[in-house]
């Protein structure tokens, strides 16, 4: 198992390297430079700035310099906020995004798995159909539609929850953004859980458990939940990626000072090192979390653990 984990970790290095190189080249290929502005500085000043940031060097050399910096954990300086390095900006934005993402993911798993199991146990019933049509809706409507509608309903009309982020305190401000972000994942996980739970419940070992007099609760908890979670687990990788991209929109809509918001601002301000840094940070995060998901397989399936 340890060997397997190490091998996977090594295997992730080329993937990450590829992402870095591609992202670097794409940012460079984007039209316009970081200091192109309506109030263009004097050519000499511009040349001095470009020299400071090594922008006058050939691309390959810049890439080599950047990779060298990465090895030391240095994502370079921000072009727009010269007082901060990109790493510092990520450090400032990430906690809010992390909180949002973890809460949304937990909510999605908790509600999705419960709803899916509930529907599976009542297959074909009214409850089942309601849960499933709700899921279909959840999957179909994009985040940028759900977010304003929820704000309109709960903040503007009902005044139950705050509309924005800044100024409001406590847990209440998290509710709408987290729900918005979790909603499509809840829907997807519910459908996945339902399908795999139905499959698992038809297996022979469930019949054995029933013949042993184990009630429905015990059967789900002890026998069915673990194997039914395998497809859900393999969806975790894409789900994490979806939550990360979703957070870019949600943070923008609700004005949350997170990494997603920094990313959008960075793109608008042509703060290329910031954009590049966040892309690489997210890529590394997704690769790492996918690795964790793979290792979790071993926790659920003893035959995988043996490898």
């Amino acid at each position: 198992m340890l060997r397997y984990a190490l091998l996977r970790l090594l295997g992730a290095i080329p993937t990450l390297l590829l992402v870095i190189v591609l992202a670097f080249l794409m940012v460079h290929a984007a039209p316009g430079g970081p200091f192109d502005d309506a109030r263009s500085p004097h050519p000499e000043v511009l040349a001095a700035i470009e020299a400071t940031y090594h922008l006058d060097e050939p691309v390959v050399q810049q890439l080599g310099r950047y990779l060298g910096g990465l090895l030391r954990g240095d994502l370079g300086p921000s072009f727009r906020y010269p007082d901060y390095s990109v790493s510092e900006l990520i450090g400032i934005g990430f906690p809010a995004s992390l909180k949002l993402g973890v809460l949304a993911m937990s909510l999605a798993i908790l509600v999705g798995v419960s709803a899916g199991t509930f529907a599976a146990l009542r297959q074909g019933s009214m409850t089942d159909r309601v849960v499933m049509s709700f899921s279909m809706t959840g999957i179909s409507i994009p985040v940028f539609v759900v977010a304003p509608v929820l704000v309109l309903l709960f903040a503007v009309k009902l005044h139950w929850l705050p509309a924005g982020w800044s100024g409001s305190a406590g847990v209440a401000k998290y509710i709408v953004p987290v729900v918005t972000l979790a909603l499509p994942q809840i829907a997807y996980i519910a459908r996945l859980t339902r399908a795999s739970m139905i499959e698992v419940l038809s297996r022979d070992f469930i019949r054995t458990a029933r013949a042993q007099g184990l009630g429905t609760r015990a059967i789900i908890r002890i026998h069915a939940l673990k194997p039914a979670m395998l497809p859900v687990l393999s969806y975790m990788g894409p789900a994490i990626a979806a939550i990360l991209t979703g957070s870019v929109v949600v943070e923008q809509v609700f004005g949350i000072p997170g990494l997603g918001a920094s990313f959008v601002n960075g793109a608008l301000n042509r703060d290329y090192t910031l954009v590049l840094g966040i892309v690489i940070f997210y890529a590394a995060l997704i690769i790492a979390l996918n690795l964790v998901v793979d290792l979790l397989y071993g926790v659920i399936d003893p035959q995988v653990r043996q490898r």
């Binding site: 297996r203 022979d204 070992f205 019949r207 054995t208 458990a209 029933r210 013949a211 042993q212 007099g213 184990l214 009630g215 429905t216 015990a218 002890i222 026998h223 673990k226 194997p227 659920i300 399936d301 003893p302 035959q303 490898r307």
Partner: protein, 585 residues
């Protein structure tokens, strides 16, 4: 008072009735055999008793257990009875045990659920139970997962979980069908010794199993209970026609005609053949090691052995489906080598194969006409369509199927019909050798007889040779001229059928014969002739591969591998072959 009183039990799915007004009683502590062919309603009845039928099933009638009605009760009520008062052992322990849960935990849950023990006490009870069912080192096995155990050990765990709550009634549904014959005997013995006062309802298609072990019999046919009575009485004078048929068709290893040997003109010779695989850890696993064998013209040669014996690997290598690691094969004077794709067309058509599961071997999207005629497109492309249809019709006729089958799809065929289509497909190329890999293992008595009859007739008419792979010695006895016995990749004995069955010289052959159940209550069932199970191919035993399970084994057997040598007109690989006959007498 009877323990279980079933009255007018019927089970329906929509319009079709699978169990029809069945009534019977089970008394305390008695053992009852419930026999019938597949689809006769045996398993449905058992599931109905425990309320485990699928939701679309409709159950009517009365099931009284210890005086109270349990038919159509809620799961909540039934959960107090299931596993505690009535428990069940299922057919395939690989499927019936949870692969994601340690076996100790699976047993512990039964105790917890019924409030029989908890905490350390429950663990101790589970370990004690695992020890009683014969698991070595039960403290360690407590933490094992099902996939880490052999088939026989898994079924022992299954039995442990069914008996740990000391129920009043144990229902065992084909408990040994998925197991090797020497392990089957062990499991049946175990059920008998452990059940004490627990009544046993043993469901099986094999009359040999119930003959020596059950006091009474219930005979099912097409959902109806057609005969019931004391086992000895039912066997001695069956009343119902169906019972008579079942008894007449039950193959026996101790009587019936045996085919005499045929000419000794060799058609196919195998010399020093070895086949190996690599497992998931890239360890080499030698499935067939240094096998010599010859098949004569117009002969049926049976290859018998338990799982892991290498019988299927050997014929796959003959066919060129997997490579031979060493050795050579000579067919009609020419070497037979290379993968099947590289062989000459004429060689390919001379060797044809019939598999165990006809449903899996026939493409469900093709009609019988295309299924059977497909190979003609390759081997005889010059044929016109009407000529091809004519050949297909003729081939179907040899297996007893008429033209009406031409346009059918596989799902429109019964199991026996499908297997006959598979045989027709193999025969249409007029092969010199037909290889049947467990070709009748999945078939019921009457259908099995039909298929065997077809094979015998075709052989008489065309002079084709047959390699008949089977684990069922009774069937082998009735169809083969000679028998080869394999164990753990080695050939251990080859002899004419009569000699092999009347005077087996290898201790393993003897054990296989002793372990085969005889459908006759007057023939006392042999207690399990062998301990343990077939060892792993990854680390085969030293010297004679059979020595760890053999009662003759001594230092020589451990050190030196016995060569296959001539004896009594056959060949046997055993250091003690000259003594084995004496000890039996």
């Amino acid at each position: 008072m009877s323990l279980l009183n079933v009255k007018d039990l019927s089970i329906q799915y929509g319009e079709s009735t699978v169990v029809d007004k069945v009534s019977f009683v089970v008394r305390r502590g008695e053992s009852i055999g419930l026999v019938g062919e597949s689809g006769s309603g045996k398993t449905q009845t058992a599931l109905g008793l425990l309320g485990l039928l699928p939701r679309d099933a409709r159950l009517t009638g009365s099931i009284r257990f210890k005086g109270s009605e349990i038919a159509n009760r809620s799961d909540r009520e039934l959960d107090r009875i299931r596993g505690r008062r009535i428990s069940m052992v299922f057919q395939d322990p690989m499927q019936a045990l949870n692969p994601y849960l340690r076996i100790g935990e699976q047993l512990r849950q039964v105790l917890l659920q019924h409030g029989l023990a908890s905490g350390v006490k429950a663990d101790q009870k589970v370990v004690a139970m695992l020890k009683r069912v014969g698991l070595q080192d039960p403290e360690r096995q407590f933490r094992a997962y099902p996939f880490q155990l052999s088939g026989g050990m898994r079924q022992r765990v299954m039995i442990a979980s069914a008996l740990i709550a000391e129920p009043d009634l144990l229902i065992a549904d084909e408990p040994t069908t998925a197991l090797d014959v020497t392990v089957q005997a062990q499991i049946l013995d175990l059920l008998e010794t452990l059940r004490h006062d627990t009544a046993l309802l043993l469901i099986t298609h094999d009359l040999g199993i119930v003959a020596g072990r059950c006091e009474r019999l219930l005979v099912f046919e097409a959902g109806k209970l057609v005969e019931t009575g004391a086992t000895t009485a039912v066997f001695a004078s069956p009343q119902h026609e169906h019972t008579k048929t079942l008894l007449a068709l039950a193959p026996r290893i101790d009587r019936g005609d045996i085919l005499p040997p045929v000419t000794d003109k060799t058609l196919l010779g195998v010399e020093g053949a070895s086949v190996s695989y690599r497992d998931a850890h890239h360890a080499e696993l030698v499935a067939v090691r240094d096998v010599n064998l010859s098949l004569r013209e117009s002969e049926t040669l049976a290859i018998v052995g338990e799982s892991g014996s290498g019988k299927s690997s050997l014929v796959r290598a003959l066919l060129g489906l997997i490579p031979l690691k060493a050795g050579r094969v000579v067919f009609a004077g020419r070497p037979l080598e290379g993968a099947v794709e590289t062989r000459a067309k004429s060689l390919r058509r001379d060797l044809q194969l019939v598999f165990q599961d006809p449903a899996g071997a026939l493409n469900p999207q093709m009609r019988v006409q295309s299924l059977v005629g497909e190979s003609l497109l390759v081997h005889e492309p010059a044929l016109s369509t009407p000529e091809r249809v004519q050949r297909v019709t003729a081939s179907l006729a040899t297996v007893g199927l008429d033209e009406s089958f031409l346009s059918r799809f596989p799902h429109q065929l019964s199991g026996g019909q499908a297997q006959r289509v598979a045989i027709a497909r193999a025969l249409i190329l007029e092969p010199k050798i037909l290889i049947c890999d467990e070709a009748v293992a999945a078939l019921d008595g009457s259908v099995r007889e039909q298929v065997l009859k077809v094979l015998r007739e075709v052989q008489v008419n065309t002079g084709m040779s047959i390699i008949f792979i089977s684990h069922d010695l009774a069937v082998v006895r009735s169809i083969s001229h000679r028998v080869a016995v394999m164990y753990l990749g080695r050939m251990v004995e080859v002899a004419e059928t009569r000699r092999l069955f009347s005077a087996p010289r290898h201790p393993y052959t003897r054990a296989l014969l002793d372990a085969s159940p005889v459908p006759d209550p007057l023939v006392a069932p042999q207690s399990a002739p062998l301990f343990g199970e077939v060892p792993s191919l990854i680390r085969p035993p030293s010297g004679c591969v059979f020595h760890p399970r053999c009662s003759y084994s001594d230092a020589r057997c451990k050190d030196k591998r016995p060569e296959l040598r001539e004896l009594d007109g056959g060949r046997v690989a055993c250091h003690h072959a000259s003594e084995t006959l004496l000890k039996q007498a």
